[in-house]
Symmetry: D3
Subunit: 117 residues, 6 copies
Amino acid sequence: MDKIAEINERRKRAHARFVALKSEVYRGFLEMERAAFADGALAKKHKELIAAGISVAKDCESCMQWHIEQAVAAGATFEEVFEAIEVAMEMGGGRATVTARFALEVMDSLKLAPAAG
Amino acid sequence: MDKIAEINERRKRAHARFVALKSEVYRGFLEMERAAFADGALAKKHKELIAAGISVAKDCESCMQWHIEQAVAAGATFEEVFEAIEVAMEMGGGRATVTARFALEVMDSLKLAPAAG
Amino acid sequence: MDKIAEINERRKRAHARFVALKSEVYRGFLEMERAAFADGALAKKHKELIAAGISVAKDCESCMQWHIEQAVAAGATFEEVFEAIEVAMEMGGGRATVTARFALEVMDSLKLAPAAG
Amino acid sequence: MDKIAEINERRKRAHARFVALKSEVYRGFLEMERAAFADGALAKKHKELIAAGISVAKDCESCMQWHIEQAVAAGATFEEVFEAIEVAMEMGGGRATVTARFALEVMDSLKLAPAAG
Amino acid sequence: MDKIAEINERRKRAHARFVALKSEVYRGFLEMERAAFADGALAKKHKELIAAGISVAKDCESCMQWHIEQAVAAGATFEEVFEAIEVAMEMGGGRATVTARFALEVMDSLKLAPAAG
Amino acid sequence: MDKIAEINERRKRAHARFVALKSEVYRGFLEMERAAFADGALAKKHKELIAAGISVAKDCESCMQWHIEQAVAAGATFEEVFEAIEVAMEMGGGRATVTARFALEVMDSLKLAPAAG
């Protein structure tokens, strides 16, 4: 899964650079991130599924890869992730079905599959 | 709450027109909508919260008004809706904080308030 | 039709300002506009219908109002404009159905109606 | 033309997956697609040209490749496709000129060339 | 200038609400904002002009109003603000010329005018 | 730096094609471009930094590569480019931090580094 490895590699490198540059803007962003995805009234799993849907809306492959992984780590099943993507497809039409292809590839990379019927 | 009344009025009128015109494209969309928000692996409430977050990402007031109302009708609390909006703010920065103002106004119109501390 | 009158008024005023300011950037844009919508291999009518579809994709009410009017002035029927909007709805999903409401209102303001069945 | 082959391959694979998953959301989308591009008041060729313009507006390479191919299969000439892209460039400025590069590459892959002057 | 007063009013009210709700996501955003617009290698004036251009790109009236006001408070002239808007028009084409109309209205509300020739 | 070389190559090829096709739409765009980035009330360096910020907002790698290079050629330092990117991150949140990764890579390709502390 080369594309996913490249996304992970670029994310790590950029994160290290932003931190090394002591960017206070980036530090504020990290604070937003921490707070947005902490368990709250909504469980982290559901917050990550919201983010997965937004990732499709924003046509962001790196975001899809990250938030789908986080959702799955927090217990989301294939069906749950897929339904989040379907919501994004409803709101985004044909353009979103194109972006959604990558969500399937991320789920494959995680060996996430539908429960046997 | 005039703006919200106007959104509701325009939605109803357009829906009636699309149906009267026998638009098959719109009929396909209604099928997408029905399927996307039916209870499934994810409860309708969580699907509507995903849609609320996407509505902020897409800067769509009518979408916010609709999906927040649907989420609340399906049992979502103020805190749950607000955390969905916060996820959208994390992913969308300052531009999203502007759009998110309307989400607060929708919640006011629904008399939805934080649980007393 | 107050909203449409306001759009027309604001367009005229801004155009006059950009011209009075002798903006060369705006002058280049006017050259793009003239060339893009002149009859060519595609008739002006079909170019304006493409622009109407793009206007929905870009969520631009002023663009919808202008390009639908231009399309109709170049001979487009209600059905032709509506099918252009349907293409945008296919590609843009629920978000586009919201924007498309205004296209119907523009057609009403032009007294454009479906041919009697 | 490796990029175009990859787009085709990913589209086919995702389509098969969405169908295998019996996604009703996707089924609704297919209904939208069928209806939006059928001959109607507008010929399929002109509908696909509208979609080509929207594809540039939405910065979607897969959409460009598909809709330009469909337009050409329905009889569109190089000049007609190019003028649709020019409309998108007028409405989208410098950002759209970047996306439009791929439209030229799709036309090359189809051996579509301007009529000899 | 009613529209501008309304924008200011809604911004203030939402800010007070986000603070009252003790949103840590919003607090992180305020930290981003403070850091992004502080004098640095770039003077605050130039940072606000960058933000004015981005506001047009993001079709955000509230952002335009805020960042143009901040730029002017930091010493920007009519010509400087206008050239920032022209950059956004070059990158965003016809869609951006529509959004840019509001930038002119903001400058009027600030009594900002071109230097007499 | 293969990705950057490919961007440069595709830009050159498309430019030559648009010119060879005698596209008047493209000619108008070139006029916009020339005027937008000429020294004026704002120095070219500051106009290119505005464009760099907009490039992040529009998620456009080719635009980032071009405008960062132009800014640097006009005298911008690493710190100045980085602060322009930070403004875009403030306004665009998590989605923009993903796009901003490429800005860092462009700066690396130009051997642009922070001044030694």
